[in-house]
Subunit: 196 residues, 3 copies
């Protein structure tokens, strides 16, 4: 496919080491291809668009918009990202599913995904036990097993969400394992997806 | 998000104890918030709409409609539910995937989900072995292991279906575990989603 | 449901024995119902449409089209399949997710799925270890465990993709296990879905 899409959405649940993988990959592309990757964030784009249009004055107000208005701003943010991707290779650093006490929030609903038109949705994953270890403090150590189980469920559901985005947009879906002590390997895989 | 959506879709495969969780949660909301939750069913709404429009005379005829006509009635039922949710908090008691001998039927296709515009899709889940135990009679006890495996698969696929509905509609997705002897805990989680 | 849809999409990852299951099922339908099943392929349909319209001269050029143009040809291929299904029972022999070195390609994106309007998406599955065994040569035998794990992941993600297609189109989703030495059983299940 003569690929004209340049946005790679990079997702991963807290504790997988997503930021390190992204930063290492961006540096690799800089070193090996002399090219700069633009790292974007949906929330920031939303804030900029809503401010420009005089809809809000500060970032807190974003959350207070009606669902319909917020959806509209999300869509516009997606389009702004697609626009920026016309002149640069872009990473969108975000989440497929955000865990809250009331369930999983959808990070990439249809109207955002379709506006962005990503080339690839990357799932940065790590071993659930390792993630649990990073998140666990001494006082919560007793519930490690349940936490590991919840992390495993979260990570598996993120896969389903990424596949759903792929089905809607045609984006490829790539799992990148961030193995303990092997961040260079993970970053190298991300770099190859960026330069594909 | 200033939440203006009031429909919570509650799903769960046969044997998870969904009805008990729903009834207990509704009672909790009644006791603690003095509020009545409307429990709706897609099939009933479909029947009402199709009858009103003179399309059918009894419920059996629903199944005999063409796919295109049935889809239209499903969409109208979804809209009727969304309409009722303007003046009340609503539970839609339904299924994500219905197991039949010819595979899984989709309980929440895109056109129904988009018409309902749910706030949350809840997956009531239970331990596959416990569900198998509840479904198993003496004569089938020998194939317990395979049944447990099938139940596990069904439950996991329901998660994917819920995530797909979430991606299309923006609804949050919440897993509520109905643990043996702890229906109050599960109901309390559902009550908090209802009142969120 | 008065079923007017006649396309069954049959998917399965390399090594599950999909072709044998399809051919055996088609023969069963021929023997038992004296009916011929048309087996179609999305790539072939795409090539025919693009050739007819003078867009390409050979199959290689398909891959060199822009994403937008390729998507259009995919959609037209889906419509051609739906058209052929008006006068015959049809199997579309394809993939839900195609594994490449840069991640999973989406075999059934929304615009193709909606154009085809399948009755059922079948997932032909086999035991990951058995698939690994069939794919493994002596020199790679050492990494069997990781391969089995990758195959398991691929197969599970295909389920999510099938459910996503089901949610978008309303198609049922059926898992057919192709157990070692029991291809007749699998074929018989497929035959019943074809004749449903």
């Amino acid at each position: 496919m003569a690929e004209d899409r340049k946005v790679v959405i990079v997702t991963g649940i807290p504790g997988v080491g997503k930021t390190t993988v992204i930063n290492t990959a961006v540096q690799m592309v800089r070193d090996e291809h002399n090219e700069e990757i633009l790292i974007l964030n949906i929330g920031t784009e939303m804030f900029e668009i809503a401010s420009e249009r005089g809809l809000i004055k500060d970032r807190d107000e974003l959350r207070k918009m009606t669902t319909a208005k917020q959806r509209e701003v999300q869509r516009l943010a997606g389009e702004a990202i697609a626009q920026k991707a016309k002149t640069a290779r872009v990473i969108v650093d975000t989440h497929t599913l955000i865990q809250t006490k009331n369930g999983f929030l959808i990070g990439l609903p249809e109207w955002v995904s379709n506006a962005i038109q990503p080339k690839t949705v990357v799932l940065v994953e790590a071993d659930p036990e390792k993630i649990a270890g990073r998140r666990t403090t001494d006082e919560t150590r007793t519930r490690d097993a349940q936490l590991t189980d919840e992390i495993d469920t979260h990570q598996r559901m993120c896969r389903a969400a990424a596949v759903s985005v792929g089905t809607i947009t045609g984006a490829t879906v790539r799992i990148i394992k961030n193995r303990e002590g092997k961040v260079e390997e993970a970053a190298s895989e991300l770099a190859s997806t960026l330069m594909e």
